[in-house]
Symmetry: C2
Subunit: 531 residues, 2 copies
C-alpha cells in the first residue's frame, strides 16, 4: 500500500473512528474482502426477447456445462455433445462398477465398496473459487478437504541423514522454523542486518522469532549460546503430556545441517499457495456431484451422450456439426453458434473448416501427464495406527503425494489416493498395467508407513490421464499465454467460440473452466444482444 494512501487512512481512522475508516477503505478497494471473482452477469430470461438462438456445445466438461447452464438462464436453446456417457469430463468420480478402457487397451472395473470412491480428476476447491458459488447455487453439499495436516509425513529418498525416514510435517516445521529463527535472531542481534533494520525493527523481529521458533533467550556475551533452538513440544513427544506428573518428553530435534540437507522444508510453501492454503473443500459424496447437478439444472434431453464429433464448420448462417450418436448413427446439427469446450489438442484433431491459425493455436497447447490411484482399505490404519486424519504425505519417490481420505472418519473402511503424480513419475506409472501400478504403489507406500500399508487392501483403481480417451492428458501448458496463438482462441472464429480451463490463468482448476465459460457466454451474448 503506498504510504500516502496509508497516511490518509490513518488520518481518517483518527478523525472518524472505525466505522468511517471501514467505509473509506471500502471505497478505496482496500476492504478485507478478498479479491472478488470477476464480475459476471448471467444472461437473463427475457433478454432474448423471443429470439430463438441455438448453440451447440462441444464437450460436457465443466466449461461446457457452465456455458450451457448460463446460456440456458436466458432461454438459449443449447445442446451439449459429449463423447462419454457421463457429464464432467476430467471431473470424474470412480465408484463401484465404473468401467474404463484406456487408449493402451487396459481395462479396469472399479470394485470399491458401496459409498467408497476416488476423485480421479479435480478433488479440492479453495474458498475463493467460483466453483463453491456453483455448489451453493446448484445445491451441492460441501465438506472440508484436508489439504494440510501436521501429522502427515514428509519422506525423502536419498543419501541425507533424514532420508528414508518418515518425518511428520509438524516435526519438520518445528525444526526448520526453530533453526531459521535461531539463525536470524543471531544475525539480527549481532548487527549483521543493521543496514536493513532499525533498532525498533530488530526488537520486534527478535520478539517474533522467539515465539515463532520456540527458541531460547539472548545470553549476554555469548552469541553462540543465544537464541538456541533445542527442540520443542510442537514437533511431537516420545511420551506425550499426560496424567499426574507426566509432563511429556518431546522428541529431540534433528541437527541443523541434517534438516537443511534433507530439503524437508521445501514442501511447506505448498500450504501458502493462493489456491492451496486451507481451508479447502470437496462436494460430499464425490466431485462429480457438480457435473450431475449441472446436468439436472440444464434440464432433460439437453446433453447428447456418446456423441463423437466428426466435423465442425462455420457456415454463412451459423455452424454445422457432424457427429455419431450413441447408436453409432451419423447426425448433422445446425445452430447459430458453437462453443468448443474440448481440450485444445483434441479439438485440433476434429475435421473442420477452421483457418490454419486457429488450428495452430489449438496445437500450441502442450498436454501434461498426471496419474492418480485410489486404494480402498478395509481398515482405516492411518487413523488407528498413525493417528492421521486426512491430509497429504509428500514424498520424492514416484508416488509424489499420498492423500488420506477427508471424510468417513472413524468408519470401517476408506479410500486413499495412493499416488497423485505428474510428469516423468506419472509416465512411469502410466507405462505399467493396473496390477503392477498397485504393487509398486504398495511397495513405495510401505517404505513410509510400514507393512500395514500392504494389508487390508480391498480394491484399487488407477488413472493415467494421458491414456484416457477423449482427454489424452491431465491439463495443458502453454509455452506462453501472451503469445498471439493463445490470444487467438479468446475470440470467436466466425460463429465458433472456445472455452475451457486452458483459456484461463487458473489452468487445471474447475474455476478456470468456469470463468472461461462465463467470459465466452458474455462475449456470445453481447454479440447476440448487439445484433
Amino acid at each position: 500500500m503506498p504510504d500516502t494512501r496509508r497516511d490518509f487512512l490513518r488520518y481518517v481512522g483518527i478523525a472518524g473512528g472505525a466505522g468511517v475508516m471501514y467505509g473509506v477503505m471500502s471505497a478505496l478497494g482496500l476492504t478485507p474482502t478478498p479479491a472478488d471473482i470477476p464480475a459476471f452477469v448471467a444472461p437473463r430470461s427475457g433478454e432474448l426477447n423471443g429470439r430463438n438462438k441455438t448453440v451447440i456445445v462441444l464437450g460436457g466438461g465443466i466449461a461446457g456445462l457452465t456455458a450451457a447452464y448460463e446460456l440456458g438462464k436466458a432461454g438459449y436453446n443449447v445442446t451439449i455433445l459429449e463423447a462419454r456417457n457421463r457429464p464432467g469430463g476430467r471431473n470424474w468420480t470412480v465408484r463401484r462398477g465404473t468401467m474404463e478402457t484406456d487408449l493402451k487397451g487396459s481395462m479396469q472395473v472399479a470394485q470399491f465398496s458401496k459409498g467408497e470412491y476416488m476423485n480421479a480428476g479435480p478433488a479440492r476447491i479453495p474458498q475463493h473459487h467460483v466453483t463453491l458459488d456453483y455448489c451453493r447455487e446448484l445445491g451441492v453439499p460441501i465438506e472440508p478437504f484436508v489439504n494440510q495436516n501436521a501429522d502427515a509425513y514428509l519422506y525423502r529418498e536419498d543419501h541425507t541423514a533424514l532420508s528414508n525416514t518418515a518425518v511428520r510435517h509438524r516435526a519438520a516445521k518445528a525444526d526448520v522454523y526453530g533453526y531459521v529463527s535461531e539463525l536470524l535472531a543471531k544475525a539480527t542481534d549481532q548487527g549483521s542486518l543493521d543496514g536493513y533494520l532499525t533498532a525498533a525493527d530488530k526488537e520486534s523481529l527478535i520478539d517474533f522469532l522467539t515465539g515463532f521458533g520456540d527458541i531460547g533467550p539472548r545470553v549476554p556475551g555469548d552469541a553462540a549460546a543465544s537464541f538456541r533452538y533445542t527442540g520443542t513440544g510442537r514437533r511431537g513427544y516420545l511420551t506425550p503430556p499426560g496424567a499426574g506428573q507426566e509432563e511429556g518428553t518431546p522428541v529431540p530435534p534433528y541437527p541443523l545441517s541434517d534438516v537443511l540437507a534433507s530439503g524437508v522444508g521445501n514442501y511447506f510453501s505448498f500450504e501458502f499457495g493462493w489456491d492451496q492454503a486451507m481451508m479447502m473443500f470437496q462436494p460430499v459424496g464425490g466431485m462429480d456431484r457438480i457435473p450431475y447437478a449441472f446436468e439436472k439444472a440444464i434440464g432433460p434431453g439437453k446433453i447428447c451422450y456418446g456423441a463423437r464429433v466428426l466435423g465442425l464448420r462455420n457456415t454463412p448462417a451459423g455452424v454445422e456439426v457432424d457427429y455419431t450418436n450413441s447408436d453409432g448413427q451419423t447426425r448433422r446439427s445446425e445452430a447459430d453458434f458453437a462453443i468448443c469446450a474440448l481440450p485444445p489438442h483434441i479439438a485440433a484433431k476434429v475435421p473442420s473448416n477452421l483457418p490454419a491459425e486457429t488450428i495452430a493455436a489449438l496445437q500450441f497447447a502442450q498436454p501434461t501427464d498426471a496419474g492418480k490411484m485410489g486404494i480402498e482399505y478395509g481398515r482405516r490404519w492411518w487413523e488407528l495406527d498413525h493417528r492421521i486424519y486426512g491430509g497429504i504425505t509428500n514424498t520424492d519417490t514416484d508416488l509424489r503425494n499420498i492423500w488420506y481420505p477427508s471424510s468417513g472418519f472413524h468408519g470401517e473402511r476408506g479410500t486413499m489416493i495412493g499416488y497423485y503424480n505428474v510428469g516423468a513419475k506419472a509416465r512411469k506409472f502410466g507405462a505399467m498395467q493396473p496390477a503392477q501400478r498397485l504393487a509398486s504403489a504398495l511397495e513405495l507406500g510401505a517404505k513410509i508407513h510400514g507393512p500395514v500399508y500392504t494389508k487390508d487392501v480391498a480394491a484399487s483403481f488407477s488413472v493415467d490421464w494421458s491414456s484416457v480417451m477423449h482427454t489424452e492428458g491431465a491439463w495443458v501448458d502453454w509455452p506462453s499465454q501472451t503469445d498471439p496463438k493463445y490470444k487467438e482462441l479468446l475470440e470467436p472464429t466466425g460463429n465458433i467460440y472456445f472455452a475451457g480451463d486452458h483459456l484461463s490463468h487458473t489452468i487445471a482448476w474447475q474455476h478456470g473452466a468456469m470463468v472461461s465459460a462465463r467470459a465466452t457466454v458474455t462475449s456470445l451474448h453481447s454479440r447476440v444482444m448487439g445484433a
Copy 2:
C-alpha cells in the same frame, strides 16, 4: 536422534532394506507413529470375580463419566452424583431452550434456531487426543473443526501502521515469511552466519528461503537488491487470476517495518502447537454428544442428576456421601470408594473429614476466567461477503478470538463464536449483562468485518465461566505441578480418589480429564485386585 543411533539405522537401512529398517525403527521407538497415548488397560469383565465393589463418583463431567464408564466395564457398581441436570460439566452445548442462571443472577434462555448451537466449553479435539478414541468407541460421529484458515483475519488495535486494519492470515504470513526469508538469505549470503553454517548449509538454506519467502534471486555485487521480497500472489489479489488474459494483480505487500511493528506474526505459532495444529475435530451436532454417549454407555439409572453433595467422609468400611437429590431430599450413600471428580476449588468447599493437607492441596489450584459468546446470524455473511469458511480471527481487542462455524457450510444460517476470551478480557465481559455483552461484541466485531457484523443477528448466548454455578471458573492453574500439594491429589486419601483435567499436564482439555480418570481407575482397580 543421537548420531550413533542414526548411524546404526543407516547401516541397517543399507544392509536390510526398507522393511527391516522399519522393524528396527519400531523396536527403537522411532517409528513415525506419534507418541502413543499412555497405555491403558481397562478393568475387564470377570476380573472382579464376583466381588461386589461399589464406587460413588462425585461429578459427572468428563473425568467422572470416563471413570464410571471404565469401571463399569469390569462390573463395578458405580453411581455418579451430578449437581446439574445434564452430563458433561464444562462440556456444555447450548441449544434452543437451554436455560441458565449464573451466580450473578443473570438469566438466559437460548433462542437459537433448531439445529444451531454453541459449544460453551471444550470445542475442538486434536488428532492425538484420547477424546477421539472415545468418540470412536462410543459411536460419536466427528467432523473437522477449522482451527486455521488463511482467509480469516488478524486485527490489532493500536498506533502502528497496520492497526485498525483487518489483515488476512495469508497476507500476514506471506509478508512475514517473505521478509524473514529476505533478511536471513542476505545475512547468510554475506557470511554473517559462517560461524554456524557450512557452505553446503548455506546453499540449502538459501534454496529453502527462496521458495519459503517467494523472494528474488541473488543479484551479484548488490547485497541490498539480492533476495528481495516484493510481494507474492500468496497474500491475495486485487484482481485474481481469471479467464483469458487476466493473470491477476497481487495485493502489494506492507512495508517491512510496518509488518514487524504490527505484531501480526506473533499469532502464527498458535497453529504449530502440539494441541492446536490442524487437523482438529468436533463431534457432529455439538460437543455434548460425548457426555450423552457416555451416559448411554454407562447405562440407565447410574447418574443421579440434581444431586448436591453435602458431605464426604472416609469411613472404616469405605466412604459415606451425603447429598440432596433433585427433589430436595437429603440422602446418604455408602460405597467402598469415592472418586472426587469435581473442580478442586469446588471440592475444597465440600464438608468432609479429609485431612488438612488434602484440603490445602485442593485449594492450591487457581481457577481461571474465560468467556464465550455464541451469535446466531440469519445469513452466512462471512461466507457470502468475506469468503471465509470456518476458522479463527484473532484480535487484541477484548474479543480475543472470533470463530466462524465449522459446519453448515452454505446453509441459510450459522452460529459464530463472537468471542472466546480469557483473563482480564473475560472478566470485562463477565461483568456485563448478556445484552451489553452482545452490544459490545457486535461493536468490536464490526470494526473487523464492517457493518454486516451487526445485521441479521438472530440470537445470542454468553457464558462467563467464573459465574457458572458448580464450576466457578474455566479451568485451574497450579502455581507448580511439582509441588507436594499437587502430588497429594494423585494418591487416594483413604478410600477417596481424585480425578480431573486439573490432575494432568493437559489441563483444559477433555484428554486431560480422560487420562486422569484412567490413571485413577487403574490405581483403584489395582488396589481391589491386590486385596
